[in-house]
Subunit: 356 residues, 2 copies
DNA sequence: TGACCGCATGTAATCGATTGCATCCCTCGT
DNA sequence: ACGAGGGATGCAATCGATTACATGCGGTCA
């Protein structure tokens, strides 16, 4: 016996169990197609040799990779990393591997996706980046090879893709209504990055709630943002400099809300005494900042799971309907300490200005 | 011409440019081995047909997948998601794909890694999970197929793997010394999860600094933890219940420090007035909690980049040395608002108890 | 001039599994 | 007793690229 063993192939298993490779293959993928006795003999041979099927060979023959590609704008964002976590779980459960493509945008993103697919590395694509050019996406659905594709988080209503997302507009409306319900009239908004679909939807929900309540939206109370803490912090600086401030602010996501809170603190503006703040996402950290953040919880875990499941259904041809399916998950308001009725406690000097 | 085009293969390119498939293959991977004119003809043919090499076929023949597997304990942890981000960047730069395996531990983790490798899906493994059984790891380095492996973050000094990590022990020592330097004598510690290598190193660093300064370590000032906010919060509850409290606490990571801060706040204990807190990692959020967290910054970006680079070097046989290489990156103390000299301001009732 | 060298290219084997088709054999029905 | 039917299995083609080896050609040098 030689000391350097090579990794065993189906040939060895066949030889060892005295059958052909065809039978071994069948025993492994369609056990009911071989007899009891050979099945046992083969599984024993597999055990002894330590055989593991070669995925490249299988892929080549079956034109299938049992792998999905997840394209994300920014993995470092906890919002996405939670989703990725649940995608990975679901995928592994269904026997798929998960390849990641991060910072996924720019001119060649469409080509990159196409190449991954055409090179037979992946069977389908889960896209979380709304900034990918629509034309490039359409290219993927054409010939050759319409790529199994599920777009998540981002809504592209007119495009023929399956989408999974949350009820952003309605959720933003609810968040704003929560503030209105507490008695706030002057309510500001920290926007997301320009050009992002979510930014637009969340702002629209905010505006809708304000309009429905007959409240005016002041343009100097709309802060530009970027879904990150620094942007929220910058908004906080502007807020502090304002002569006439709103008594509440709805931030387009938790990170910007947190950055906003930290800026407020630097300026000695207290939350919720001087200003109530609502975030969006319910990141793990939201419950642990000071004050704990009221926020719209996004069902991130479910979103990842459902998106991955839908994609695999498409890949395996189990989505019979050729019509794109648009799934919408509900958000949930989580009330914590960052919101309260306006001027709840003794009127602070800050607030007095407004009431003059 | 038919409307349903199949995805083009090297055969089509060969036919189109009037050469054999061998020449096409050479033109694509070793351009200098074919003549100028045919090279041009072939690249034109590639352009026209829209040819993309089939990776499964290439993998099968070359026994190479151009993919690495990254095994992580918990993707949702921002510490890991930042590292994963930089791994992905480096890998793409060098032409590799990144497959992820999350929540990677448990009995079959060794087998899962082995299967990924033996099935030819990945060329090597980047392991971030120190809880994987050492015996299972050793199995990977044996016959058949010694798996290219780089272990990151976790040190297994006696094991024959390349490792990349940070100077945990020294960093923990520095963090503790920072508190000592501020004049603290009573310093507590929030540990990481039991059994984790990092937990041990960070605690050891803490103990070393204490011992060097001639300070006693009180066992009721050592809180058990788990690298997450809930554990830090629980530690905070215990801390608040203490009759005799330390004036400073070194937490084994930022998340537990943040959870600790939030519990302190609930109990009306002020940081840094009543207690100084040092974290570990420097997550993005650390600068934005209240008060901003003093912490040991871990070079996460560099760590991911270097680990991925080293793994690919091993895969490509560029690490000539058979000796395992242990790389250690330096951490950096980031001083923010959560630390100050003890009893800095007027002595609070909380502190008075200790001074009685 | 003829032996030789090296470059560009072609031929065909090869990687390892899957699968259409053929074969063998056993059982059952008439 | 004989053919049909069907279950178990084997044979060999196949997926698409890479690559060892062969070939042919033009040029160099003795």
């Amino acid at each position: 016996m030689n000391l350097i063993k090579k990794t065993p192939t189906i040939q060895e298993v066949a030889r060892f169990s005295g059958v052909s490779t065809a039978t071994v293959s069948r025993a492994l993928s369609n056990p009911e197609r071989v007899s009891e006795s050979t099945r046992l003999r083969i599984s024993e041979a597999v055990r002894v040799t330590g055989y593991t099927p070669n995925q490249s060979a299988r892929s080549l023959r079956q034109k299938t990779a049992r792998t999905i590609l997840v394209a994300l704008p920014d993995l470092r964002n906890p919002f996405f990393s939670t989703i990725l976590d649940s995608i990975e779980r679901e995928a592994v459960l269904r026997g798929y591997g998960v390849l990641i493509a991060n910072r996924f945008s720019g001119d060649d993103s469409g080509r990159r996706m196409r190449d991954y697919f055409l090179s037979n590395r992946v069977d389908g694509l889960l896209l979380f980046d709304g900034s990918v050019d629509l034309a490039q996406l359409m290219m993927l659905t054409g010939n050759p090879a319409p790529v199994p594709l599920v777009v998540a988080c981002e809504e592209i209503p007119t495009a023929p893709f399956h989408t999974v997302r949350t009820d952003n507009l309605y959720a933003a409306e609810q968040a704003t209504r929560h503030l209105i319900g507490l008695g706030h009239h002057g309510i500001g908004h920290i926007r997301g990055p320009v050009g992002n679909v979510l930014t637009g939807e969340r702002e629209a929900g905010y505006r809708k709630a304000m309009a429905d309540a007959g409240l005016a939206v002041r343009s100097d109370w709309i802060f530009k943002g970027a879904f990150d803490m620094d942007a929220g912090h910058a908004a906080g600086q502007l807020f502090a400099a304002l002569a006439d401030r709103p008594t509440a602010v709805f931030a387009a996501n938790d990170e910007s809300a947190i950055g906003f809170l930290s800026a407020l603190n630097q300026h000695g503006i207290a939350c919720p005494r001087d200003v109530s703040v609502v975030g969006f996402d319910d990141l793990g950290i939201a419950a642990h900042v000071l004050p704990p953040l009221t926020t719209m919880r996004q069902p991130r875990e479910a979103l990842g799971r459902i998106a991955a499941g839908a994609l695999i259904d498409v890949i395996e041809g189990q989505r019979r309907s050729r019509l794109p399916m648009h799934m919408v998950l509900s958000s949930e308001l989580i009330v914590r300490g960052s919101t309260s009725p306006p001027a709840h406690r003794a009127i602070a000097p800050e607030a007095a200005v407004q009431l003059q």
